[in-house]
Structure formats: structure tokens, C-alpha cells
């Protein structure tokens, strides 16, 4: 089609004039307004997904809780779930609080009693030193705690705890001495700086709550989070039929942080939309100047037999071409950078370290690679929005000169 031919000629004009520079600037502007949101949103998505993955990799996917803290039929329930629901693994746990005391420091900690095989379902839990031995009065503590108190494998730690039976209004504070058999690291500060794992029966004993559990923790065997809503409903239905216990899922347990993720993304999207509008406004301003500058060409095309509708089509096509090029470049570069973000950051950090500059703690980058985490909806909306605005920005100035006749346009040359 000749419209495509003319649009193509106008998008990459031969003469290195203002018009060609505006075309390049417009493409670059679209590129920036695609690259920026795709990169930032991709990064946020990746970061959120990474944190969500970590959330579901460090704790139970579902928890069955007794609101009155006196679950005593845990063995029966856990066995029933394990026997009747193939895709789930249930285990009782006991969780209490305490105060870890050092020579010069003290800190509140969570003591969680779990069965020995708990570790098999926490893929990110690595034993940094020692071993996963939670038998007897052995405990495995978080790396953050160990660092803070200078604790090594084989050390005895002192924890003040308060027993938590429902019958005692004022329960005594007791000192418990436990032996550190291992130090774990998950990369998740909530665990590493706060948790101490011991055996389920040991925790019951420490807190003087024999035959009682805080709840039943449930893991999905295949860890497929797409199925979790379905599994949650099945579990809730089952529990509703056999007891008054409550079922919480990992989303509910982490609802505050998940809510903050949503807010973060919403605010970021608003900021990015403002940036996009500002960028694309420059396309509009540029094209207003260009169309004034290019009026004569439009007049000549009119003389040669193009009506205003076809001229409009040419400029819409030109807008689409520029939009496509800009969007393609923006998506390509943001995709490349997101896929290689780890190496890029490492490269920058290494380059800075050669200059003796250290800007961030290495602890921040516990994730090896964020990967490409684009939301298809984000791509669609951002591309569509850019395309619409660039066509609009190119098309609107044309409307202005439509009021002039060809002779007026040529005469004003």
C-alpha cells in the first residue's frame, strides 16, 4: 500500500533534519515509556514473587489452629489428613515464645517444636553448621541469632520461657537450658533472627503442655500454588465437619506484607503512568512542531491526489510504526535486563568495588536470579497505552491543519 510506503519514508527520512530527529526522539520516548514501566514492574513482580516463594518455602502452607490453645486430638487429625488427602502432609507443631539471654544481650525468640521430618518440606532451610538434630534437648537455631550472640554448635543456650496452659492465669517464668546441635539459614530474616527449632515433644515438655499442640501444620506435596485455593477449601470443609478449629493459609498468615505488595505496585503504577504521560506529551509537542514544519509535504501529497483521510492514515500508520519499534525495543531491553539483573548488579557492584566503593550489603542479594516475571496484563496495558498515546500525539496535530486548503498550505511555504 502506498500509505505504508509514504509512512515508512516519513519515519526514516533521508534528510537529517528536525523531522528525522523528532522521529528518532519519538521512538526513543516510546522506548523509554515502555522500558521503564516494564523493567520496574517486572522487577517488582519478580521481587514479590521471589518473596512469596520464600514465604511458602519457609513455613506451613496451611495451619489448623485451636482458638482456645488446647488442641489435644492432633494425632487423630493429622493421621486422618495424611490418610485421606494424598496431596497433603500434616504434622502437629508446638509454638511458644521465650527470651534468649546472652552475656550482654537478650532477645525475644520463637521456639517451635516440630517432627523430625519437618526439614524435608522447607527447601530453603540449609544447615550452615552442625546438623538437623532436634531430638531430646537439642535445638537448631537461626543464623541471625547465632551471629548476634556468638553461639556455636555444641553451646548451651539459656531461654526464659513462660508456660502457656490455659488454666494458669499467672504462670511462672522458667529458665530452660538447651543444646545447639545446628545453625540454619533460610535467607528470610523473620526465621533466621527469631526461630529456634526443637522436637515436638520437647517443646510440649518445655512449655509444660503435654498432649497438646499449637496446631497442625500442613504442606502441599507438589508445592503448586495454583492449587492451593482448592486445597484450602477441601481442608476447611473437612475441618468444619470434624471440629471447631480454624484453618489459616499462608496468604492470611502473611496478609499484611501481601497487602503492602499490592499497595507498592499500585503506587508504582501510578508514578509510572505519570512518567509515561510526561514522556509521550513530548511526542505530542514535538509533532506539533514537525507537522507545522512539514505542512508543505502534506500539501504536495494533496496536490498529487491524496485526500485528507489518506494523509491521516499515513500519519496513523507512522504512529503505529514508531509505536511498534519503540515498544519492541522497550520490551526487548527490559526483558534482557530483567533476565540478567543478577549479573548486571554484580557487574556494577564489582566495578564499584574496584574503585573502593561499597554501596550495598551483600546480604540484600540472597536471590541468585529474579528472572523474567512479567505479568501479561502489564505488558498488554502498557503497550496499548503507549500505542494509543503515540498515535494520538501524531494524529492530533494533523487535525489542526485539516482546516487549511491545499493552496493555503502551499502558499505559506
Amino acid at each position: 500500500m502506498f500509505t505504508f510506503f509514504i509512512a515508512k519514508k516519513l519515519i526514516k527520512p533521508h534528510s537529517n533534519d528536525f523531522f528525522s530527529r523528532i522521529s528518532v526522539i519519538s521512538i526513543l520516548t516510546v522506548f523509554i515509556s515502555v522500558f521503564l514501566p516494564m523493567f520496574v514492574l517486572g522487577l517488582i513482580n519478580a521481587f514479590h514473587n521471589s518473596l512469596k516463594e520464600r514465604m511458602i518455602a519457609v513455613d506451613f502452607h496451611f495451619q489448623i489452629i485451636d482458638p482456645n490453645y488446647r488442641m489435644d486430638d492432633y494425632e487423630y487429625l493429622a493421621t486422618n489428613i495424611n490418610n485421606n488427602m494424598d496431596s497433603l502432609v500434616a504434622m502437629p507443631f508446638f509454638e511458644g515464645y521465650g527470651m534468649l539471654i546472652g552475656d550482654f544481650d537478650k532477645i525475644p525468640v520463637v521456639v517451635r517444636g516440630v517432627p523430625d521430618f519437618f526439614i524435608n518440606f522447607i527447601p530453603v532451610l540449609k544447615i550452615k553448621s552442625g546438623e538437623w538434630n532436634i531430638n531430646g534437648y537439642n535445638v537448631v537455631i537461626g543464623n541471625g541469632l547465632a551471629d548476634r550472640f556468638g553461639i556455636k554448635v555444641g553451646d548451651i543456650i539459656n531461654i526464659y520461657i513462660k508456660t502457656t496452659t490455659e488454666y494458669e492465669v499467672e504462670s511462672p517464668i522458667m529458665l530452660k537450658r538447651l543444646k545447639v546441635s545446628g545453625i540454619f539459614v533460610t535467607g528470610y530474616d523473620n526465621l533466621d533472627d527469631l526461630f529456634i527449632f526443637t522436637g515436638f515433644s520437647t517443646a510440649q515438655s518445655i512449655y509444660d503442655s503435654r498432649n497438646k499442640a499449637s496446631g497442625i501444620g500442613v504442606f502441599m506435596k507438589n508445592r503448586d500454588m495454583k492449587e492451593y485455593k482448592n486445597k484450602l477449601n477441601i481442608l476447611k470443609e473437612y475441618i468444619k465437619n470434624v471440629s471447631y478449629y480454624k484453618v489459616n493459609d499462608w496468604e492470611k498468615l502473611n496478609s499484611n506484607i501481601l497487602f503492602s505488595f499490592k499497595w507498592e505496585k499500585t503506587i508504582m503504577t501510578v508514578v509510572l503512568v505519570i512518567i509515561i504521560i510526561a514522556c509521550l506529551f513530548s511526542v505530542y509537542v514535538g509533532y506539533n512542531v514537525v507537522i507545522s514544519d512539514k505542512k508543505i509535504d502534506l500539501g504536495i501529497l494533496g496536490v498529487l491526489g491524496l485526500d485528507s483521510l489518506k494523509i491521516k492514515k499515513i500519519f496513523i500508520l507512522k504512529g503505529i510504526l514508531m509505536g511498534f519499534i519503540g515498544i519492541f525495543l522497550g520490551l526487548s531491553l527490559s526483558g534482557f535486563m530483567l533476565n540478567n539483573i543478577y549479573f548486571i548488579i554484580q557487574g556494577i557492584l564489582n566495578a564499584l568495588s574496584l574503585l573502593g566503593i561499597k554501596i550495598l550489603s551483600a546480604k540484600i542479594y540472597y536471590t541468585a536470579s529474579l528472572g523474567l516475571n512479567w505479568d501479561f496484563f502489564d505488558i498488554f496495558i502498557i503497550s496499548l497505552f503507549n500505542m494509543f498515546i503515540v498515535i494520538f500525539a501524531v494524529f492530533l496535530p494533523i487535525k489542526k491543519i485539516e482546516k487549511s486548503t491545499i493552496s493555503e498550505i502551499i502558499r505559506n511555504k
Binding site: F2, K9, H14, V303, D307, S308, L309, T405
Partner: protein, 223 residues
């Protein structure tokens, strides 16, 4: 045979609060296969009349009939098609599109008419050969001399084999030698294709070459 019939044509422009009448009720006829020159002082309405004939401007009132069709009542799209098929325009400043090569400039009217790019290139090349410009087919306009650009503009004007050529000071920007060449081309084309040729000019020598001289004086034909 009557080719163009102008009837009570009026055209004015608004300049600030003032209304300036440029064409004041002109009525006349242009015959087929004849060469007309329109002369007159600056501001007499020569170019405006040519633009009204070519449908590049709209009159306040009156009609311009070409082959029995009133172009003043045509839609924008109809006028564009009409211009593309029936009319060829030549301007003083050539008006070649500077981002297009010479052959691309020449092929455009045919490409717009047929949508056939291959055929348009072939025709444009043949037309350029007629003007000895085939070696400069891929040159951009700024690399061509004034004479070459005007020959290219004439090639573009005739590629669709129009019946009427409207030329606004076609030699106004050329030296003597190129003026001779361009006028020679236009006169040959007129004979070869039985064209109606209407030229707006200040040049009395060119006017003398024409079959009829139309002298405009403040928007009216001077008898």
C-alpha cells in the same frame, strides 16, 4: 471543444478584519488542446485562479466545470481522485518531496492511483527517460540542479497522463537555458498528448508562445 468552464467565480480572503476580494466574478472557457497563459501584476489573482481551477482552493461562489463536472461541489476525496487522474501541477519551486528520491517522487501519483508499486516504478523510470533524468533516478532532490528538479516535477505531473497541466510560474526560478528546456518540454507534451496547458507567468516571452493570453487585473479579466 470546451474543456474547462468557469462561471461567475468569486474568491476572497479574510485578512484581519478586512475582506480582500481576489477573484471578482470571472467567467470564461478553456478549450481542449490549447495553451493558455495567465498574466497580470502581482496580487491580480493569477495563482488563486489556477488553484481554483485545480480544486486546490474553494471559491466563495461560482463553479468550475471540467469535462462537464463541477469540481467545486465535489467532496475532498472526489477532488483528490479527480486531481490524480485528470490534472498535472507544476510549481515555481518544484515542490518535490525532499525525503523521496526523484523516481519515488515521480512514481507517487501513479502509485496512489493504482496501488501497484512495481508498475509505478517502471512507469516512473520510462517517464524519467523522456526527460533524460534516468541516471539521476535515485538522487534526492537536493542533489539535483534547479532545471533537473523542474523536469522531475514535470515528469511527476504527467505520469498519470493528465488532460490538463496547470503550471504556476514554471520557469520563474530557472536561468535562461533551463527556461528554454522546460518550456520546450511543456510545449512538446502538449502536442504529444493533446493537453490543455494553462501557465501562470510574469514572463512576456512565455505568454507570447501561448494560443491565448488571459490578462487579470485586480481579480477581473482585462479585455
Amino acid at each position: 471543444m470546451r474543456k474547462i468552464e468557469i462561471n461567475k467565480l468569486y474568491k476572497s480572503y479574510i485578512w484581519g478584519e478586512e475582506k480582500i476580494e481576489v477573484i471578482k466574478g470571472i467567467s470564461m472557457t478553456f478549450e481542449e488542446n490549447r495553451f493558455y497563459s495567465i498574466v497580470g501584476e502581482s496580487g491580480s489573482g493569477k495563482t488563486t485562479l489556477l488553484n481554483l481551477i485545480g480544486g486546490l482552493d474553494n471559491p466563495d461562489s461560482g463553479s468550475v466545470m471540467i469535462d462537464g463536472k463541477d469540481i467545486t461541489s465535489m467532496s475532498d476525496e472526489e477532488k483528490a481522485i479527480f486531481r490524480n487522474n485528470k490534472l498535472g501541477f507544476v510549481f515555481q519551486f518544484y515542490n518535490l518531496l525532499k525525503d523521496f528520491t526523484l523516481i519515488e517522487n515521480v512514481m507517487l501519483p501513479y502509485y496512489i492511483k493504482t496501488g501497484n508499486k512495481k508498475e509505478a516504478i517502471k512507469n516512473a523510470y520510462n517517464t524519467l527517460e523522456m526527460f533524460s533524468l534516468e541516471k539521476k533516478a535515485n538522487y534526492y532532490p537536493h542533489l539535483l540542479s534547479g532545471g533537473e528538479q523542474q523536469r522531475g516535477a514535470i515528469a511527476r505531473a504527467i505520469i498519470n497522463q493528465p488532460e490538463i497541466i496547470l503550471a504556476d510560474e514554471p520557469t520563474g526560478n530557472l536561468d535562461k537555458e533551463n527556461k528554454k528546456i522546460v518550456m520546450g518540454i511543456l510545449l512538446n507534451l502538449r502536442k504529444k498528448y493533446n493537453l490543455t496547458l494553462i501557465i501562470v507567468t510574469h514572463d512576456i516571452e512565455i505568454a507570447k508562445m501561448s494560443d491565448s493570453i488571459i490578462k487579470l487585473n485586480y481579480g477581473k479579466i482585462e479585455l
